[in-house]
Structures are given as C-alpha cells and as structure tokens.
C-alpha cells in the first residue's frame, strides 16, 4: 500500500500563513504532496484542514509562504489558476450542476468543439470514455440529479481527470456514502493514484484513513504537528496528536448509563409503527422518564429521519404516538412543542440558529414561539432567562447581544440547547449536538445531557460517534438501511459489539428489548 519512496514532490507548500480577522487560520504550515500517493490531512475541526485546501485550490489568497507546483512557484488568484496548474478538487457537498447532464458535468469548459460550436456527440463520447476509465457505466445524457450522491462524487472525480489533473483534492467525499459506495470510491482512488496522480484526502473516519492512506499530515490549531507514513503511526497516537491533550476530560464523564431507569410507568413518548414511505420503515420507539435513548447507525441509516418523524418535522404516513399513555397526534413541530417535546437538528446552520439575531433573541425564540406573538417575553424576564442559561451552559463570549452567527459552532450549539431548555421540555431530541465542535464544548454538552437526564428529563441522543452514544445512553436503538434493526441496553456493550451489530445486523448474544 505504501507508494514508492522515490516519488518526486508535485506540490510543496512552505510556511503557509492565512490570517482571518482576529484569527490566524494557518500559521507557517509546511505541506508536501508526492505524485502517486494518497496523502490524508488530519485534524479536528478548526485545525486548519479546509483552509489549507482552500489555499491550495486558489479559493483563499495566502498571506505568507510559497506554493510550488512541479518545481514552479505559483500565485493563485482564483480556482481557475489552481486548475490551470493541474490541481482539481472534489468538495464535500458535490460542486456540480445537478440541472445538467452527467456528460456535461464531466466536460463543462472542455467540450469538444467544431467550427466554434459544441459537437455534442463527440463531447458525450469523450465523457463516456472518462467515466469508463474509472469503471463507471452511466448514461452520459441522463440528468445528474437522477443519480445518487455517491455517483455524483465519482462524476466529479471523472471531471477532475478531464482537466489532466496532477493533483486531486478530495475534501470529505465519504461523509454521506454508505460502505459499498466508499469501496467503489476507494477503488477509483487507487486507480487514479496508480496512474501517478497525487491525491490529497480529507476524512473524519479513522478506518478509512488507514485503509487508503500512504501518508498522513496532522494539523492542530492552524499549525503543523507533523507528517507520518500511515503504516508507522498507531491509531491511538494519531488521535492524541490531533487532539493534543489527553482524552481524560471526556473519559472522566462516568457512564451515566449505570443509573437504573424505571420502565414500569407509561413512557414519556411511545411511538408504534412510525414510518414514512421511502424514508423510514415503520419502527417502535419508547422513551421513559430520566432516560437517555441513543440512536446509533451510520449517516443515512434512518436515525435522523426517525427523530424528525417523532418531532413532526416531517409527517409520518403510518403509526401512532402516545405521550404518557395518552394518544397524541404529532404531525407538525407545533404539536410536539405543545407536548413539551423539543428537537435540535443536526444541521445547526440551516435548521437551528437564526444567524442575524442576537444570542438573547435566539434563546428566547423557543419560549416566545410557544407563547405566541401576542404575549411578548418582557425585557426583564428575557434578561434573567438569558443570563441564567449563558452562565449555566458556559456560552462564550457571554455577551447576549452578539449576533449568534459570530459564535463558534460549540457555542451556537449551547445557545440552541438553551433555547429548548428554556421551554422546559419533558423530552429533548438532540441530533448530532456535538458534531463539528471542539473537544471542550463537546464535554460541556455531554455533561449537560447527563445532568438533565439525572434530573428527570428524557433525552434522545443521536451521534455518529458511537463512544459518545454508549457513554450517555441507557438504551440504544440501532438503525440500518432506513430501518430499526434492534435495541440494546448499553451498559454491557462495547463499541466493537455495536459496530458489529450495525455491520452485520445481528449480535452474538442479542439483548433485544424490542
């Protein structure tokens, strides 16, 4: 798996510095990429991975340092400059045009022309050739929107190869792919690598790092930690290099699951056969007083979909729900809120914060919406509430008048948590509350969740990080392929077991409660 050591450096970045107002996003970072290798960039959120990629692809101008491509020093004034230098990029949210055909997306800007006009036949033939090179057999005239994200991802790579790319940058391409799609992507990546292209890869999934990488570069807080051959860096060491401090803080959170839950009383929320065609197969879920129920599964497994149906964010087309034993119709968020159920979406920016409103207004919004527009939360009441939650959750900076969009991700998440806690819910559904936030804020939020449950609030907790789910949850609902495949009481489950369950759909000695 290791590339031949004699490969020359195709990209050399030296002393790269990028300054944003108030922050040094990159500080004198060196980075070397060699032809025919898969080089993975590692680091926590905020480490500077995206910034480094954007410097390399010409999105951001650099404030200091040099970029040398194939021995020639370059200054990129835009993405076009970087592409001209042979650097092509495939972004996380596929940057293609879904309104156009597959073939066009591959060939845009490189169409075959005759007498000044595009020769579509030849263009599609050429597109098909590039797709076939990567083992893709797709109707080039079909609209891109009719294909899955995975296929679109591969089409984007094909496009990169049309431009005779010498360097291929893949920025978190796997975050929304399932296992077999990842396999397909990796096969293509290896193929491209073996043709001498240098691949810069970014991912959050550790397994994938070791599966595909030849070399790793680790960044932390905008600084270079070091470059390592993948085979020589053990997993645990990699994690501590990325995080920089020991995991003590998170481990110190004892497993709250040790507490016994009384499941004799009627559950706070009980859903039976809740489902929606094409979205989620009917599933049963119940949450009891003071209980944390984790939803575990991969992205797209149906865990978010189930949460949204429970909350009425999407409308279920089958099943029924009961709140404390009484039938309750929950088809809109309002219904859920009236039943004192709260929901924090995984997409903080698009479905959580109201960016141009202040921290205070964001906190009060939930309670205000509940009361209706006629009964405004008074100034004094608002100030008291806001101060209380800013202090209780440790929102930084503790300035209620700052616009929420200017806060870091972790603090935005705390504000959203405050918004819901202010409405005094009996059940709160948290979808990926710790995604993309720093370790300190993550620990704060986990601690808060455990504390709330201990005080009697019920919680549905969804996270991609299985450790986190196991640490907090009393019970884990396991999801796969848009359906619930089982339920585990978690105190005797290890991460490995859970992974196996998700992978195989069965456990050696299953403790199925359902």
């Amino acid at each position: 798996m290791t590339a031949a050591p004699a490969q020359p450096a195709i990209v050399e970045m030296r002393g790269i510095t990028i300054q944003f107002p108030g922050v040094k996003a990159l500080d004198g970072v060196d980075f070397v990429l060699r032809s025919g290798e898969v080089h993975t960039l590692m680091g926590e959120n905020g480490a500077g991975k995206s910034t480094l990629i954007k410097a390399l692809t010409g999105v951001y101008p650099i404030d200091g340092g040099t970029i040398t491509v194939a021995g020639e020093q370059r200054v990129f004034r835009g993405t076009a400059d970087a592409q001209a230098a042979g650097i092509s990029t495939v972004y996380q949210e596929v940057n293609l045009c879904t309104n156009l055909s597959v073939g066009e997306n591959v060939m845009l800007g490189h169409e075959v022309r005759r007498a000044g006009l595009i020769d579509w036949k030849a263009t599609h033939r050429e597109a098909a050739r590039h797709l076939t090179n990567l083992g893709l057999d797709i109707d080039t005239r079909s609209a891109l929107s009719t294909h899955s994200i995975a296929i679109q991802q591969l089409v984007a790579i094909s496009r990169a190869m049309v431009g005779e790319a010498r360097v291929l940058v893949l920025d978190e391409p796997t975050s929304s792919l399932d296992r077999s799609e990842v396999e397909q992507l990796f096969a293509v990546m290896r193929d491209v690598r073996d043709r001498g292209v240098a691949i810069l890869f970014v991912t959050h999934f550790l397994d994938q790092v070791y599966e595909i990488s030849d070399r790793l570069t680790v960044l932390r807080n905008g600084m270079l930690v070091g470059e390592y051959p993948a085979a020589e860096l053990p997993r645990g060491e990699l994690i501590s290099l990325m995080i920089g401090r020991e995991l003590d803080e998170l481990d110190a959170l004892s497993r709250s699951a040790a507490r016994e839950i009384d499941r004799d009383a009627a559950p706070v929320l009980e859903a039976s056969d809740l489902g929606r065609k094409g979205v989620l197969e009917p599933a049963d879920v119940s949450v009891y007083d003071g209980e944390v129920v984790g939803f575990a599964g991969l992205l797209g497994s149906g865990r978010t979909e189930l949460a949204r149906l429970l909350y009425g964010a999407d409308r279920a087309d089958s099943g029924s729900t009961q709140v404390r034993g009484t039938p309750a119709r929950i088809t809109t968020p309002r219904h859920a809120i009236d039943q004192r159920i709260a929901f924090s979406s995984e997409d903080r920016r698009a479905e959580g914060i109201i960016g141009d409103l202040s921290v205070a207004e964001n906190i009060v919004l939930g309670i205000q919406a509940k009361r209706g527009w006629l009964r405004k939360v008074g100034r004094a009441e608002q100030a008291a509430l806001v101060d209380e939650y800013i202090a209780a959750l440790g929102v930084r900076p503790a300035d209620p008048n700052r616009l929420i969009k200017n806060l870091s991700g972790g603090n935005q998440q705390k504000v959203l948590l405050a918004r819901w806690l202010a409405t005094a819910p009996q059940l709160i559904i948290l979808d990926e509350p710790t995604r993309g936030i720093d370790v300190g804020a993550k620990a704060d939020i986990q601690r808060k969740v455990a504390e709330l449950a201990a005080q009697g609030m019920s919680v549905v907790f969804i996270s991609s990080e299985l450790e986190e789910v196991l640490r907090l949850a009393h019970r884990v609902v396991v999801m796969r392929d848009r359906r619930k495949i089982g339920e585990l009481t978690s105190h005797d489950i290890e991460v490995g077991d859970l992974v196996d369950f998700i992978a195989d759909g069965a456990l050696e000695s299953p403790e199925n409660v359902a």
């Binding site: 045009c97 156009l100 595009i118 929107s145």
Partner: protein, 339 residues
C-alpha cells in the same frame, strides 16, 4: 426515476419514456406550453371559424416581434437566476434616441448601431451592479428601468415620428407568396433570427452552457473554473442588446417613438418566458419555450380582440395563465425533490 408523473405502464413504452424523462425532463414545461398553444388555436378556430388563417397567424409574429426579441434576451438573464426589469424602458429609450437622431439627419447605418450599443451599455451597467457590487438583480435592473424611462423623456416629452425609409421598410415590406396567404416582414425575420441565434448560443457554445451552469449552481460553476463573472455580465449585455433591437423593431412597428412605449412590457416579457417553461430560479429553460410563451401571449390578445372584449382581459388571462404554470412548475419541482 425523476419523479415526473409517468402513468404509462406499458412494458415496451415505459423504458423509452423513462429514458426520455431522465434525459429531457426540462422540456416538459415547454411541451405543456405548446399543448396550451395548440388547444387555444383549435379552440379559437372552432369558436370563430376564421382564426387559423395565414393572415391571423402571420400577424401574430408581426405584432409580437419586439416581444419575441425581448423574451430571448430575458431568457438569458433568467437562466442565470437573475431578472431584468429594464427591458421595456430601455426599448423605449433607444427608440426615442434613435428617432431623434434620425430626425436630426443621421444616417440609419449609424443610428441603429448606436441604439444597440446603448442597449448593451445599459445591460452592462446592470450586470456590473449585480456582479461587482452584489446588488440584487431586481434592484439593479429597477434602477436601470427608472434611468432609461427618465432618459426617454429627456429626449422628448412627446412622440417623434419616424420617416426614415429604411426603418419603415422593416415593417411595411411584406414578403408574401400571394395576397391573403402567409407573409413575413423583415421585423419578423429579425425576430426569428434572434431566436435562432439565441438558441444556438445557449445550446452549442461554452458561453451558453456556462449560463445554465451558473443558473444551476453558481458556486459550483465558480469552483469548476468556469468564467462566471464574464458570463453573467454578458447575459445582461445580451438582454440589453435585445432591448435595443426591440427598440428598432418597435419604432418600425408604430412608425413613431413615444417615451411611454413599453410600460409594463417587462412584465409581459417575464410572463411569456415563464409560461414558456423557464424556471425563475434559473438553470432550466429554452429560447424556443420563450417563443411559444410569446405566441401564447399574442394569441390571447388576438382572441380577445376577436371577441371584441375589453383588452383588460388580456392581462387578467395572462395573470391566470402565469399562475397556472407556476403552480404546475411548483408541483413538478416538489415531486422531483421528494425523490
């Protein structure tokens, strides 16, 4: 599956149909517009008995040549996800300017290029505001509309007759096989040429494809290394040039320029383009569709004058039709996104 309602379930046909829908879904609204046009033609013929005659259909093109030219330009802008409210006023301004220059004795060979250049300049100004100063297209073109309307009145407060033979020739010449049969005027030919050039530009040039790419996802287009800035500016310039040309054609049509010409024309143009199947969000639509939209608009006008009814019914009908199309588009989009 694209989520387009395919109800035909026959084994042999369904594969081909599915393929068609997966490849050509964006043509469906155009076909719907065409269907409406045909139904209108047939209905009008059945009701009046003398609707589908060469004379009526030929004058449909004659009477709406200026609108057709405007609609082609508007299609370019709407495809990028923008809008151009200035077209009616720019048409009026270039018409006024041209008429006054002709009155002052300038040769038509100078005046017409000047009119086109003025249109291009107005378009460029809108484009620069949109592209470089992040002004919303709605506001930028609104400013251009105000400016052009004011300038038109600055040229003259009253109408100016045009006596230049070359301009009048554009309208008065009828290329006709026999009396009472099909005919076409040079203005009509001009409009058709604009449609053809527009369609070719959009379908067969990188400029045209970049317009679709921008309308589909501007951010992507930029990251793909496509010349987004240049292309967007050019789209507004195309619309401006079309407005200038429409100024020439409209002047020929009325034989005079009046500063109040073309009030509300920008709305008619947008309505025609939308009825022709172009999505206002950009990235989907065809010049040919816009042409059908203009013909639908023209037919409604003709039908209403055949009925001898108030011309105010034209606007009401157009409004209702616009509503129908937008609702249908909305359903199509909702269905395909639910996929």
């Amino acid at each position: 599956m694209t989520g387009i309602p395919v109800t035909v379930e026959r084994a042999s046909a369904s594969g081909a149909l599915r393929r068609f829908f997966s490849r050509r879904a964006s043509w469906i609204p155009v076909l719907a517009a065409l269907a409406i046009l045909i139904v209108m033609f047939i209905g009008a013929q059945a009701y009046f008995g003398n609707f589908l005659t060469p004379r009526v259909i030929s004058s449909l093109l004659l009477d709406n040549a200026y609108l057709l030219i405007l609609a082609v330009g508007m299609t370019f802008v709407i495809l990028t996800g923008g809008i151009d409210l200035s077209v009616g006023a720019v048409m009026a301004f270039t018409g006024m300017l041209g008429a006054s220059l002709l009155r002052d004795g300038l040769p038509v060979g100078v005046v017409v290029p000047v009119m086109l250049l003025i249109g291009a300049a107005m378009g460029l100004a809108v484009g620069i505001m949109v592209q470089y100063f992040d002004v919303q297209p709605f506001i930028a073109s609104l400013a251009a509309m105000f400016a052009a309307r004011g300038l038109a009145f600055m040229v003259s407060l009253s109408s100016i007759r045009v006596e230049d033979p070359a301009i009048l020739w554009l309208q008065s010449t009828r290329i006709q096989a026999a009396p009472g049969s099909w005919f076409i005027t040079p203005t009509g030919i001009l409009a058709i040429l604009v449609v053809i050039v527009g369609a070719l530009l959009l379908a067969y040039t990188r400029f045209g494809r970049t317009i679709y790419a921008i309308g589909g996802n501007e951010q992507s287009a930029r990251l793909m290394g496509l010349p987004v800035v240049r292309t967007k500016l050019l789209a507004y310039v195309v619309s401006g040039v079309c407005a200038g040309l429409a100024g020439v054609v409209f002047t020929a049509y009325t034989g005079a320029s009046y500063p109040l010409n073309g009030i509300g024309t920008e709305l008619d143009t947008i309505a025609a383009v939308v009825i022709g199947g172009t999505l206002l969000t950009g990235g989907s639509g065809y010049v040919l569709g816009s042409m059908i939209g203009v013909l639908v608009y023209g037919s409604i006008k003709t039908v209403i004058s055949f009925l001898g009814a108030e011309q105010s019914w034209t606007r009401i009908t157009i409004g209702a039709l616009l509503l129908l199309f937008v609702v249908v588009q909305r359903i199509i989009v909702a269905r395909s996104s639910r996929r």
